[in-house]
Symmetry: C2
Subunit: 611 residues, 2 copies
Amino acid sequence: MFGASTLIVKIVGSIGVVSAGLDLGKEGPMVHIGTCIASLLGQGGPDNYRLKWRWLRYFNNDRDRRDLITCGAASGVSAAFRAPVGGVLFALEEVASWWRSALLWRTFFSTAMVVVVLRGFIEFCNSGKCGLFGKGGLIMFDVSSVTVSYHVMDLLPVIVIGIIGGVLGSLYNYVLHKVLRLYYLINEKGRMHKVLLSVGVCLFTSACLYSLPFLAPCTRCDPSLPENACPTSGRTGNFKQFNCPDGYYNDLASLLHSTNDDAVRNIFSTSTPTEFHPISLLIFFALYCILGLFTFGIATPSGLFLPIILIGSAYGRLLGLVMGPYTNIDQGLYAVLGAASLMAGSMRMTVSLCVIFLELTNNLLLLPITMIVLLISKTVGDTFNPSIYEIILHLKGLPFLEAHAEPWMRNLTVGELAAAKPFLVTLCGIEKVSRVVEVLRNTTHNGFPVVDHGVIPPAEQQSGATELHGLVLRTHIVAVLRKKWFLPQRRRTEEWEVREQFTSVDLAERDQKIDEVVLTEGEMDMYIDLHPFTNSTPYTVVESMSVAKAVVLFRQVGLRHVLIVPKYQAAGMSPVVGILTRQDLRANNILVAFPHLAKSKEREKSRVGHA
Amino acid sequence: MFGASTLIVKIVGSIGVVSAGLDLGKEGPMVHIGTCIASLLGQGGPDNYRLKWRWLRYFNNDRDRRDLITCGAASGVSAAFRAPVGGVLFALEEVASWWRSALLWRTFFSTAMVVVVLRGFIEFCNSGKCGLFGKGGLIMFDVSSVTVSYHVMDLLPVIVIGIIGGVLGSLYNYVLHKVLRLYYLINEKGRMHKVLLSVGVCLFTSACLYSLPFLAPCTRCDPSLPENACPTSGRTGNFKQFNCPDGYYNDLASLLHSTNDDAVRNIFSTSTPTEFHPISLLIFFALYCILGLFTFGIATPSGLFLPIILIGSAYGRLLGLVMGPYTNIDQGLYAVLGAASLMAGSMRMTVSLCVIFLELTNNLLLLPITMIVLLISKTVGDTFNPSIYEIILHLKGLPFLEAHAEPWMRNLTVGELAAAKPFLVTLCGIEKVSRVVEVLRNTTHNGFPVVDHGVIPPAEQQSGATELHGLVLRTHIVAVLRKKWFLPQRRRTEEWEVREQFTSVDLAERDQKIDEVVLTEGEMDMYIDLHPFTNSTPYTVVESMSVAKAVVLFRQVGLRHVLIVPKYQAAGMSPVVGILTRQDLRANNILVAFPHLAKSKEREKSRVGHA
């Protein structure tokens, strides 16, 4: 998922997408590039090119890899929006499923580095050496020049923006979900279909971008503007001449015939109440609604921020035009608030969006009303459907645990959940090689409980007593099998024997396949001592614990496996009744096994609906 | 700790402190006031005035109270600095010991309300109706007017600021720690000593503030300034006349004879390279170092932000004077960076400080260098001592779990920790009243494991089998005793019997004392069925788990008690070997019981020192 080839494809792809003028954000690929680099660093180099640095293996453990990936995602966002603090918060609010203060510090450090490097490049490119890069400095959509003055009465339009933004945002989520499902069906039919779909969307985009400005009326240039500022025909600028006579400009062309960033900058431009014709804005809004919905699912690197900002800013500016006579707030600020409301209505983030908008627009006085808009849109949106990220994760079937346990999870115990799974495979502390190989070949589990029989210390010696030794990971067993570290007879090994054979780097190796291990008849009859490779203190839960509580434990501590221990203590019983993984705890997987819970969930929903 | 009387004392006290001109921040009392209000809301009203609203009891549970208190703290910070996003992050980085996305949303909502109300008041007070309140608008120390331009070469002074700030910050922590310990000794001697100490510090402060400006030289007013701007004699302004002739001003008087906020504003003032004489700044710096160290511990509501900002800004401006010829950065910005570096060096926060400074100064272009300064100071400071908040928490002995488990905690199992505790008290599922009362009177534990003997379901019936039923809280037992809900014989009760007797509000009642319960001889011979009041799925750990892992579990899931279950499963054994609380897991408490770990810790330190 985060390999070297992905990295190259993403870099090339995102450059192509942006230069093709498709309605896609850069932040998606940026985040992906950041996480790819982080993941490669964590692994010590790409898997398939034998370019591994062994010292980097230090990071090759679950926790550090997760931290690195979070840092990578934060750096991606901060590079895309030049918003270092926003990037940190985005990573924490949306990406990281758990949180600790060291992680905060690390992400902050990586985004600080991103800004310093960005700043260096902008400095270097200042003299126009790098095309459009660095134009506009560190702040992308600067609206700090306008002094925001508003009164209590202006709260009303702000609330209206928030409510409409929330409704639009959830509607966007709903339709995008349908479109993505359709696209998955098309994309599954083969490569040809994928390419055709992408080419079709590209052609449609180009055709619209070129032809639609002909529909817009020409506007006379404001004579108070400096000479050469209107009309222009260059790559940037608010007033493009296009098909208009001298002294006139085509406002829709100014929006469509420039980079997406410039389009946003134009819509956000303040103190220009008559610059954009309502009809042009309406066409722009409608066009980007369609493009935003139909472009995201094609087989290219893509992000959601920019399409939503484009739609939202057009909607905000339109609303500003309508409200014009009744309010003190500038139309450009309406556009900013519209963009913020649609973002919150669709993505349902608050703090990180607020900071990203602060860093994008550099207007601190706008902060209070931005906060209100974000809160209202998020609340309105949440009443209709989940956030767009949750929808996409759900579509892709990734084992991402929801932040909240569902209410019906309280009525199900982990014991019931474990009983519904087909079977539990336990291994003995000292196990025959043939049995280990058989277990690994016939199951896909990544962790196995290790149980010892009759090895209680003398003082407590009793018949039939068993001991739960811990949890052993599949990768570790495979590592042992590859090294062929077998024992001719059943015996416990000493620690130094293991130390001699295995370094922590050997055990950190991932993705080892059991199929690659070839064993002789004689080796199959030997024994493996699993004790040294077993995590002897796995997290455990009692079988009567509710699933909701187990979800909290998984999510907060960031676990992969939890062992379920029995409630009753008696001789002869197995000391472990099951094992839970992230996949087991996902709401959908539980509902497949327990359909009656789905019904009770619907009943609850309809009851809430009637109440 | 968060009662109604505290609230009133804090409000009156903080007004008094600020108007006395003491070197103390407002944010400490503000946070405390916010948390008091939150805590009162959570309880449904003050305890002792019979002013309780029953509907508010809804929040009277651990989780919601904690959330409310976090919101209160965030609101306090955002009110003190007019920094809503900074307040949220401060609460998350420093106050909350655990985190979930719903909490983020809630704190964000409360700070948004704070800003809206603040904004309303500022609007209302605009015409000068409220004295100095609202002067300067929503941004306290605005330096946005200056365009920050810096080059790669300017990174060097920035790094120097960071390093010196880190060293100064940790030095401040070290000395403040000593002073606070001295003050605790003095304050313990009685009220008279407390009052004398406070009065002494007040007198010293006043004397210094009045007399020191006589030492400063008079400076001629810049003739380019508008008339009446220099010299002034009002409450605000950069150029106070004081003892100087007409046409001259006393720069030290301008800093000392105004509110602390104004002093900071004056030092941060940009494009005024010759305004402050180095000697005046040096006196100011030295004075506030002394005041900052000796004022914090006196018996008044106090905060640390402002004293540190004052010291840091003076140090930064001094450094700016020295570096003047070699750099492009304005002296005012040096002062800002100096303040940031000392804050990070003392408090060791990164993201929240960064956002607070952004919101205080409203200069987004300063963000990259602020980030670098914060990172460097924090790193330098962390090599010397813990953050000032950790030092104070440690001095006060509050059971606040450190974010990180200490390395030596990996070598200790929870079983060993439990064995070192004097004794474990378990209760039976159906227990005699006399035994329950005896246990409650003779222990101070807040939770007891409940164990059932021989109540295994038929299929698994065996002799001597025991079952861990769960964990019962002291408050719940006391509630049962107060209601005198006893059974004449040993029997399991039905759920409806309990529902009839107890509402969730009864059980949420806190601070019930066992001493207030009076029971007759006959009642003592009856039985209590503890099953309905028992949390039957407490979090458990196996006795062989390391203390480090248990700390992570406590901290991440936000627990109060964890039961320790045995590693070996055999008939006749107790199904629980111990119980862990937050107090048990604090590093210091463990070191008292296991002094050899402290030695190994020191050995490790000295080894690191030699390496």
